[in-house]
Subunit: 148 residues, 2 copies
């Protein structure tokens, strides 16, 4: 049975779900964001099957999230590079990282890995704020309305 | 074939994927976050099947994301309330909202709906920053290391 698609939904969360809700896709994007670009390397680092990885990369290419680029001619070899749209998924993955780290491990302090600033080595603590005010976007003080 | 689980992964993104990667789950969470608490109401607003909604709410209850609370005795009726863990998913959904709005609609300005501040009515523009500095967390200036 074909599952319901959300790619024509009015809700932006539903549309993103249509893209990220494919099992394995956020894991593949994690690898691409951290600089892994080749099929075999992504497969080695994640343990994904070749069939599923092929399907996911094809979908991500169709959606303009990655670009398939030939990096060698004989024999032809390709790598996968994130587009601007693909790099924009970074923020979603950072938010998923934070939630996973804080809530999906049994014992504090969470995951064995952490996000750090490359220059200073300081651990980062992500928070979602409004760009104009710099204040956290709180559920209780937010509502949805039709765009004018 | 049982799909690979990510619930014992070292990576926080993978663990969050294990929870949010179930098809429909982010849509159900959207309804819960915006105050829909009853089974039939969630079903009406999303178009999800009863069988899938039951499965998703059971999983979310097992994961301590929602709490099933009896609100009427005769006949017994239940509603679903987000726990602290459930409310923490708000930030992930806000990040998904932003990405969807900016990248998943064909024409600007994106979705017909927008997030606004309840008090001022001002449109919100989410950005993921570091809590200490208030600076955006940029992919190029972030790396992963083992937690000390």
């Amino acid at each position: 049975m074909r599952r319901t698609r959300f790619d024509d939904a009015h809700c932006p969360v539903a549309r993103t779900t249509d893209l990220l809700g494919d099992w394995w896709t956020p894991i593949v994007l994690r690898e691409l964001l951290f600089g892994t670009t080749r099929f075999n390397d992504i497969q080695d680092r994640t343990g994904i099957s070749r069939a599923i990885l092929t399907q996911r990369l094809t979908r991500l290419t169709d959606e303009d999230v990655v670009e398939r680029v030939r990096y060698q001619d004989a024999p032809p070899r390709y790598e996968y590079r994130l587009t601007d749209k693909g790099r924009a998924l970074w923020e979603v993955l950072v938010a998923m990282w934070k939630f996973g780290d804080e809530w999906m491990f049994d014992a504090a302090p969470g995951a064995q890995v952490e996000l750090v600033d490359r220059a200073t080595g300081r651990a980062l603590r992500p928070v979602v704020v409004d760009a104009s005010t710099g204040e956290p976007i709180e559920l209780a003080s937010t509502r949805v309305r039709l765009r004018r």
